[in-house]
Amino acid sequence: MALDVRLISTPLSAPAELEAFLAGRTGDGAVVTFTGLARGTGKDGSFVETLTLDWYPGMTERSMQDIAEAVAARFPVTDLVVVHRCGEIVPGETIVFVAAAAAHRREAFAAADYLMDRLKTEAAFWKRETGPSGTRWIEPVDEDRAALARWKDETP
């Protein structure tokens, strides 16, 4: 069992991460990945030039690690990788890449899904969008909270 949790301020390559995650993997039957991209439009349809993720060095990494450990404790995964960007990101760039490996696909799907639901609501980031009309802060929306709440009633 290995947890690979990284916060980076440089471009994130999902294909490179996946290739590294798959290399030499002979004992698992399933790898599920999720790649999150910066969107060029805000919730209200406005144009987004840059997305900025502020972070608290040390605490943000710890929050990501805590979430990854909770996922590993809940689902029978063999390995997890979580790579998250911080700083300025432009539309089309990858913000987050996660991969979960397990013996069978259902556990890998569930682990990646749960990991993303927790990252989207609990990770220690402060996100803002900048466009022609200025900058605005982004906070978790009801759909994010509802997505996380689903897991409370489910047993893994």
Binding site: G36, M59, V96, L119, A123, F125, K127, W137, D144
Partner: protein
């Protein structure tokens, strides 16, 4: 002087870092928040909000938690998540 870190909307208003003369016996988060807010209207408006939380040594804490000199104290708006 003890540095105080600010993030999110709080950091936008007050800058990334301030400082505070924390007595050796420490103060609660509530006391630090109120004393910082007494400095000026901008600080009061940025800090005296129910959705502004605090951490001590990178752990989110309650208002009654004690912070002592040498510990890392931060105030911030709600996490946005990743």
């Amino acid at each position: 002087m003890t540095p105080i870190l600010f993030f999110g909307r709080v950091g936008e208003r007050l800058g990334p870092e301030g400082s505070f003369d924390l007595p050796s016996e420490g103060l609660t988060v509530r006391e630090i928040r109120n004393l910082l807010a007494e400095r000026d209207e901008v600080a009061a408006d940025a800090l005296l909000r129910p959705d502004v939380r605090a951490s001590v040594d990178m752990v989110v804490v309650s208002e009654d938690s004690l912070a002592r000199p040498g510990q890392e104290i931060a105030f911030f708006s709600l996490f946005s998540g990743g």
